[in-house]
Amino acid sequence: MNTNNKTGQSTGIKIKNNWFAIVVSLLFLLFPLVIKNNYFIDVAFFFGIYTLLGLSLNIVLGEVGLFDLGHMGFAAIGAYTTAILNTSFGIPIFVLLPISAIAAAIFAYLVTSPIIHLRGDYLCIVTIGMGEIVRLTLINNPFGITGGPNGVFGIDFPSIGNLLIIDNSVKFYYFIWVAVGLTVLALIHLQDSRIGRAWNCIREDIIAAEASGIDVRYYKLLAFVLGAALAGVAGSIYASKLMIVSPESFSFMESCMLFCIVLIGGMGSIPGILIGAAAISLFPEIFQTFAQYRMLIFGAALVLMMMFRPGGVWPRQRGKIQTESILVKTGKSEI
């Protein structure tokens, strides 16, 4: 049977009847039942949040190779959109999820379109600046809507009437991992589409990409907008989980962590992102016992990681997966 099918045709359909996918989803389903401990389920939840954020940054940094060290800014927009609209107008979270995504996307479009032409490190500092501007503005409580340093309190749980109320660790766990699952599916599809290829071309050689008919500016913006929208979703879920959003959750340091997630895992590699997110979110918990030495170890670990796996722990494997030739299949080939 033809499981290792890289190009367009019908991967999407295949996933449904593919036993790998079934095992994976089973694993997801079983985890909270196997490990009943709420703490681990919460850790797994935040692992999911970081995975989602990592995937969102991966679009910008991994696929298109744009340095973005202010990505948490987008998540902040999403989180605060949810927090503010929910607390002051009581709009349910599930309604706010797409709204937050759109808000973050629009924000991303507005701030990045004037600077999208910047190269490498200049883009990098501008995104840092963008992230800091967001954070500082939130702290300064413009029009008294962001609650300043205290943030916004008392966000509802996501719920659909009384049918479904996500109010405990297990439900939140499923909530985030379903979101991650769908995102992964979508991104796998994108990677194998002309859009994914266009992104990679830009990363590989911007001029050749332009010369191959790719509208570089458009696809860069698309990446930012898409990445921001995903980050917005993550922020929104994050807000409803903690029931509070406050500026310190969206610091420059956090953006750096996302950057590390993508590079630890391997640029543009989806399983890589899972590993990276696991490293970033589990490490501090596992090393709790080291108390104040823990970040010390973490720093050293980052260096070692890059020393021994500069390409990431699980870089994207290109071409390793063989496609059966359409020509051969359709008998048009001389070979």
Partner: protein, 382 residues
């Protein structure tokens, strides 16, 4: 497909590494302590840990509680981050089976943590979360040994300002949850009192070094009293720079503003003659508990804790131990009932402690202190 397979493998690995850690161990009377051991507020967490351990020592040396059971502290770092705070709380309740928890420093971290403790019916006592709203959410298991910003703000407006007979007051805060809260309560109280005029109200960014700009602005409004509600390490810089650009208004600090570090940073020449509205300044307490605490703390760490919050963490442990011992129970509801109804004037490190229905501490005596020329403090008698 290959990629799906990879993801699958990754997940297996992760699950394994989670499950391995799942083997948690138990212990008789375990009290949780949550504090920022890393990150920007690390200094507070460090001292809170030291204070609580000292308090635990005091109790255990007397043979522990519940005839002979020792108190064990389960320490978890929350890095002054809401996310880490929530995780820390979850860890304490669902892994360490703590009887109750001392949590935590910083209002925006305490918020999600207290929500979790509430959900799992665990008594949690905050030691550095003074935002008024925290205890207004109808939580049953939330307590705090630290005061609320509003009491201190009112104290400043109604006691301190008249004491100096000031008619022009300037307030500066540093946009941290605590300082902003205090500053706003003080402003509110000032307007209510209507005696003095608030000529200046602004924020600085903590962690920076040069505050001459806001100070120059402040100078232009020539106030008579200058109230800084932020933390000691900025306060030290601010008093220096204020005096150097020729502000001679009376300097009053909030209760996070003035301590040894403040004096070291400001230099005695500038620190002397500064005032502060202060709740619990440990070096100033003379009650036996405080003396014993100071003696033990000094013995272990050489100095005294430089922030009031950490001492409140010590208080929290004393209070919990007392409640458990008296009720002979570790059941949260019994403890809540005792703390809210039975416990009155319990002699703790920072003086008598009791709690009202909201879990706020009653009877915290706020005072106005002055820094003497030799760097010691004394209460200003009004």
């Amino acid at each position: 497909m290959k990629r799906i397979k990879n993801i699958f493998i990754v997940l297996v690995i992760v699950t394994l590494c989670l499950s391995v850690n799942a083997l948690a161990q138990k212990d008789p009377v375990v009290i949780g302590l949550q504090g920022p051991l890393t990150g920007s507020a690390a200094v507070e967490g460090e001292m809170a840990k030291q204070c609580v351990e000292t308090a635990a020592l005091m109790i255990n040396e007397k043979g522990g509680i519940l005839d002979g059971r020792m108190i064990e502290i389960e320490l978890v770092d929350d890095a002054a981050q809401p996310r880490a705070g929530a995780l820390a709380a979850m860890k304490l309740v669902s892994m360490r089976e703590v009887v109750a928890s001392i949590a935590t420093y910083g209002s925006s971290v305490t918020q999600p943590a207290s929500d979790i403790y509430e959900k799992f019916n665990k008594v949690n006592i905050a030691y550095g979360a003074t935002v008024t709203g925290l205890s207004e959410r109808g939580l049953n298991y939330f307590f705090r040994t630290c005061g609320r910003t509003d009491t201190q703000g009112i104290f400043f407006a109604e006691e301190v300002v008249p004491y100096f007979g000031a008619s022009r007051v300037a307030i500066l805060h540093d946009n941290t949850s605590f300082a902003l809260g205090l500053a706003e309560e003080a402003r509110k109280a000032l307007l209510d009192a209507g005696e003095a005029e608030l000529v200046y109200f602004d924020a600085i960014t903590p962690g920076e070094s040069d505050y001459t700009v806001p100070l120059t602005r402040l100078r232009e409004t020539n106030p008579e009293v200058f109230y800084f509600t932020g933390y000691f390490s900025e306060a030290g810089l601010i008093i220096r720079q204020a005096r150097e650009i020729g502000i001679d208004a009376v300097f009053v600090g909030g209760d996070a503003a003035i301590n040894e570090d403040f004096i070291r940073i400001a230099g005695l020449e500038y620190a002397a003659g500064c005032y502060m509205t202060q709740e619990a300044l440990i070096q100033y307490f003379t009650n036996p508990e405080a003396m014993e605490f100071k003696e033990k703390y000094q013995a272990t760490y050489g100095t005294l804790p430089s922030s009031p919050w950490s001492v409140y963490a010590g208080d929290a442990l004393m209070v919990l131990a007392e409640a458990i011992d008296k009720t002979g129970s570790t059941d949260s509801d019994v403890l809540v009932d005792y703390l809210k109804n039975e416990m009155e004037e319990f002699p703790s490190i920072t003086g008598p402690i009791g709690f009202d229905e909201k879990g706020d501490r009653v009877g915290t005596g706020i005072n106005l202190y002055v820094v003497n020329d030799d760097g010691s403090y004394s209460i200003v008698e009004r």
